[in-house]
């Protein structure tokens, strides 16, 4: 799906806990999500920390959309947003 949308000229940040699979299928911009059952956050955290955690993932996704990539590329929030405020 993502590749077809990219083909139309719209960059897509694929956010998935199964990032290896997303990379194998050839999606160019892959963002490591939390878990299958809660991709963009963590329900075990307090509301505030959950929001921070999710926001890191979304900000990483935005970063990937602004990055020139030549092939399947992983963007890991732990790396991209290390020490940054959200």
């Amino acid at each position: 799906m993502a590749k077809e949308i990219e083909r139309a000229g719209i960059p897509v940040a694929v956010i998935s806990a199964l990032y290896s699979l997303a990379l194998t299928t050839g999606a160019p911009r892959v963002v490591r999500g939390a878990r299958i059952e809660h991709v963009c956050g963590n329900p075990r955290l307090s509301a505030e920390k959950d929001r921070d955690y999710g926001m890191r993932i979304i900000m990483t996704a935005l970063k990937s959309l602004q990055t020139n990539v030549t092939g399947p590329t992983l963007f890991d929030p732990e790396v991209e947003m290390a020490g940054m405020a959200v």
């Binding site: 949308i5 000229g9 960059p11 806990a17 329900p43 929001r51 092939g71």
Partner: protein
Amino acid sequence: MPAPFEVVNYVNQFFAGQGGEERANQPVVVAEGPMGSARGLQQHLGGAGVIVGTIYGGDNYVNEERATAFDAIAAGIRKLAPDVVVAGPAFNAGRYGLACAEVCRIARDMGIPSVTAMFPENPGVLSYKRDTLVIPTSESPAGMAAAQKELARLAVRLARKEELGPAAAEGYLPRGIRMLGYREAPAASRAVAMLIQKMNGKPFRTELPLEMPEVVKPAAPIVDMARTRLALVTSGGLVPKGNPDKLPGGPSDVWFSYPIGGLPTMTSDRWESVHVGFYTNIVNQNPNYVVPLNLVRELAGRGVIGSVYDRYLSTSGRGTSVSVSKCIGTEMAAELKANKVDACLLVAT
């Protein structure tokens, strides 16, 4: 008669008899002897092979806690010291197929021959395509007996260290490996014979199946995020409560878009996930986990992004084939383009 060879069978939590999605986070367990579906495999092995252990793990766990899970699986295989490792059969269960491919890789790294079985569209087929022996199975577990019969047959050959012939002859999925061999007729004769068949509309078999890898040139990156219209897309099967358009739980050949204009966040009273491939309890309580509307609204409010497209796009990704996904993607792209969307977040479960 030679002594029976020893086998370890990897299965998931469901086929180990431990439960369904509610046990998908089950850590790896190394059990002695055949458990769950491994008992069926033992029957097919007969006296030729004995299953000395069953290793099982939850489908979420093995895919999410990769390092810990793989270490535990490796330790289990080392402890049981089998002659052959059999993983699955996984049919079209995607997470299970991915796990099976990893189990075979672990065995391979330890120098132990391995074989797995799954439906050809299972994403696990892609993981280590050139290195993994994959027997094609039916899509559903209705084909369990046939799959285990084939697994047993190949396991025996691997245990005997017999060299396997080409995929078509041996019954495993082609891996894209070409070996030197001998053909009866010269190439020119074979080519002409093939051409005559083709010109007469008769069936012929190519000697070189061309598998074009689908490489797509990535779209140009966004230059000015503050002026970007961002759309939310998901394959997590999120729909309005009651599923008015009857989106299938997966596989799905349809998709829908739903209005979210003016909504600050996704709430449990209005939305639900119909995806049948994962435990949707958490997403149903907080749909923002697959359609992160609350977070993108905040970013729009702060001026980090320009705007949020006032609809989100949804389908169910479980078991949806590559070709169908391609169609859905093309159709989604059309709606996005028509509505001047500049970039997307696609949340996959």
